[in-house]
Subunit: 148 residues, 2 copies
Amino acid sequence: MSLKREHCNVEGTLREAGLSQTARRVAVLTVMIQADGPLSAGDILKRTDPEQKINKVTIYRILSSFRENRIIRELPTDQGMNLYEMSCRHNPSHPHFYCKTCRTMSCLPPVNLSQAQESFAGQNVFRIDDVHVHVTGVCRQCHRQDKI
Amino acid sequence: MSLKREHCNVEGTLREAGLSQTARRVAVLTVMIQADGPLSAGDILKRTDPEQKINKVTIYRILSSFRENRIIRELPTDQGMNLYEMSCRHNPSHPHFYCKTCRTMSCLPPVNLSQAQESFAGQNVFRIDDVHVHVTGVCRQCHRQDKI
DNA sequence: AAATAAATTGCAATCGAGTTGCATTTTATA
DNA sequence: TATAAAATGCAACTCGATTGCAATTTATTT
């Protein structure tokens, strides 16, 4: 599920999202496009040019703007932190495998949930402890109350 | 997906898990069994008898021991905190719906992922923004390296 | 029932991911 | 080039969760 570098043009992606082309945003988006798996805010900070000395607050704010514009997806982990991955047409939504031991999240091919256990056996998966489907959106109640 | 109170005997559950029967554990497990949806550590604290004055650290340690013994499941949220629900035979693993507006997590009936969008339409779901499948376990690499 | 070791709990301090306020800098537009 | 709006850095802070250690409670034996 790794991204090809010729995919997801940096400048075009920012322009389409209506985000101005700042050196910071270009740096973060370049890291995201070149990543071969979900990254944490700290991972992203480490992978940007040290010369730029990007502040962690800036990383979080850029990630928020990317998430709001659907450029990236946010993946909460069992360890209380978020990982991020590209959300372009070359990287559609898919299951993830989180290893509790090495605390690494890797991508899995999309399959039917009922077939998950067998299907994932061919991946870098030794043992499956839990398959969790998490749906996010807005409930009817909130919609009725015009909270959105 | 709410639990019947006659299900999941408190004393038996603790005994089978090899956990000693302390007043704190009984209180927390009783709250979990009677809950009609996932609860946060704070929720659980609020629902225990104020007379007991349980420390929040104790709540977290009890939740950890319950999780390790598969008595409960831990559900990470988009807001960086965890929710908990019973993980007994009366409450098998199932999808959850998290409303970004009211920040409430509710349970959904188990279905095939490919049918999720249509199936969830009948629930208390106005709009689905994301369906995330999260698989947890141990990867082959960690197993080979005898980290577990 | 009393004694004992092991397990549990409370308290204070701490951790760490993520956020906020505000001053400064950079970008986009005129 | 000037200007307003947006983005960034810095410091302080929030809050869920964790750690160390002393005090208490539990389970077990005498």
